[in-house]
Symmetry: C2
Subunit: 393 residues, 2 copies
Amino acid sequence: MPSISINDLQFAARFEGITGSAIREIFKLIAQPGMISFAGGNPSAAMLEDALIADIARDVLLRDGKRILQYGGTEGWPALREQVSAFLAGLGVAAAPEAILPTTGSTQGLDLLLKALVNPGDTVLAENPSFLGAFQAMRLYPARIVPVATDADGVIPEALEEAIRAHRPKLIYLIPTFQNPTGVTLTLERRKAVAALAAKYGVPLSEDDPYRDLRYRGEALPPIHSFDDSGFVVYLISFSKLIAPGMRVGAVTAPPALLRKLTIGKQSADTHMDQLAQAIVAEYLARGLLPGHLETLRSLYGAQLSRMLAHLDGMGLAHTVPEGGLFIWAKLPEGMDALQVLEKAVERRVAFVPGTHFYADGGHPEAFRLNFSNSSLEQIDQGMAALAETLRG
Amino acid sequence: MPSISINDLQFAARFEGITGSAIREIFKLIAQPGMISFAGGNPSAAMLEDALIADIARDVLLRDGKRILQYGGTEGWPALREQVSAFLAGLGVAAAPEAILPTTGSTQGLDLLLKALVNPGDTVLAENPSFLGAFQAMRLYPARIVPVATDADGVIPEALEEAIRAHRPKLIYLIPTFQNPTGVTLTLERRKAVAALAAKYGVPLSEDDPYRDLRYRGEALPPIHSFDDSGFVVYLISFSKLIAPGMRVGAVTAPPALLRKLTIGKQSADTHMDQLAQAIVAEYLARGLLPGHLETLRSLYGAQLSRMLAHLDGMGLAHTVPEGGLFIWAKLPEGMDALQVLEKAVERRVAFVPGTHFYADGGHPEAFRLNFSNSSLEQIDQGMAALAETLRG
């Protein structure tokens, strides 16, 4: 019998070509002190309310600790489902508590949707470019990702309809508000149009909307979900960008039969979510703390966005002009490659994410994504100056 | 164009025949006040240290809140990885912090292993009977489950070897200590034998060991992992039964290439785990609180186990005699069906889990599982009396 080495272990086919998130790898690269990071999508550390959360954690444990610490339902912490229901109502999304499944960030919401809907080799449609973490989740099913053209108004409905007809997708994945990576917001007319397409063709559309409350200018637009009567639009939210990413609390709302599949999928994935984080977020919302905190976030991040846009204009680089969110999408001068520029930029202690990672089909070496939430005005001045120097060579 | 209803939505093939965890459904059934539950695997509410955890939560947030509340690594909270490394060393499992991936309970550890190793239709070997939640996770890949014969000493190595040769499985799943559902512990010789089989045939063996520290009599046995030099034995632990299930903190240790796949799989599943729960468990372990707490648990649960065994003897029912854990496995008198008995028992305010759910291939209507950790001595007296009455008709 030949001896078998663990190094010869064969992994499942779904891992073929999967190398891990480029962003999470960049995180490690930039974990050095003194680095100014325009990479990640981290909230400002100053906006993380550690003392407040410490008090809330203690309060909920002293009040409900026996229940919080015991096994709970896969369906989620009841008070959180109620609070999310009220939160969604404020956005124009009608969802009873029973129609809501808390998830570990919206990441888990998408993963559970893929599990419920996608057979190996099925097609998922996504904006081009889109969130690379979502691509990785799709590829592990393994889904075929068909990118759909976008412009300054978001995904183009005609292109989406053509792709639906051509590819008969099992899921459409959109980030309509302050999109990751572009910062672009889908217009009102297009929101109505894509809701109608999901209904017309009977294709579930996952509306991933974690940034919508981070609006610094302009008028809020209703979610795509609010234009849908068919049930095919599934709404995903996250409190990661609004309260604290480290607690990983998000939620999904979907029609009963689909929600049941998501719940069964979650049973097998983790039995249920940590109930302490759920109880903390529920209490935070119940105390009415979110609106005031969002005002503070908007004021801070809005100023940081303006500052970064001014630097980009000063550098003469083409870029999107987001009205909110966490990201600006920009282009290097012709002939430059963001992967190469990043290497040199890191030597000057500034980092960003090369845009090619956000295209399902690669390419676009000139594009790059900048985050402005996690850097102070001074850091933005310093980092953008370092970036300008890098570009000058 | 025909109108398409959300009710006609087609789900992925992996959900065919999947109806959700029978135990989680029983949980809902028994959530009525006054019900004595020998179902679930819940710790005693009296053993959940809510005031202590409240203090620890506050302490870690006041000390490390900015880091806890920010995005973190998929690889897990560094202090938890260190504490788990030390904890495992105490069990004879050598694993550096970098070789450990914190997971949402051991449930997620198994799910990630399946994701890393199993293609649709591949075979997984499991004890017969075994944990039904694990079966559901396997079926969603979808894996073919081949049950392997067990006896009063645990899984039978000769049967395991035969099944390996016949089915070329991608994974072997064992719960060697105080097994769920039988309470049986794999003997020392068999631990060595199954470790050797995993190495000989190059098949990953997931050793799910959440109960091992809940030993009330007899001598602790080393994990299967401690007899493995090949790297094919993957060790899964959970602090759910030891500290608190509601925080969902477990961990897996595996060789580097496999751990990398688990980590990439986790990136897509949830980006990373709630860091507050990880930090609380790390601090609990760092303060050296676990040994004393385990003594208290053992004293309480040991007495409850003895009381329940005495009742079973008094009722003349065949049953296992576990030396620890949370479960006793028993048999109804010939001709009785546990599914039917459960319905009548619930009317008398006592519940258990019918054994058929724990057999991958069904059958065995006479078997049932009793939990003793979540009921006081008085509740055990009362509930077993109600069960005896139910059996008398």
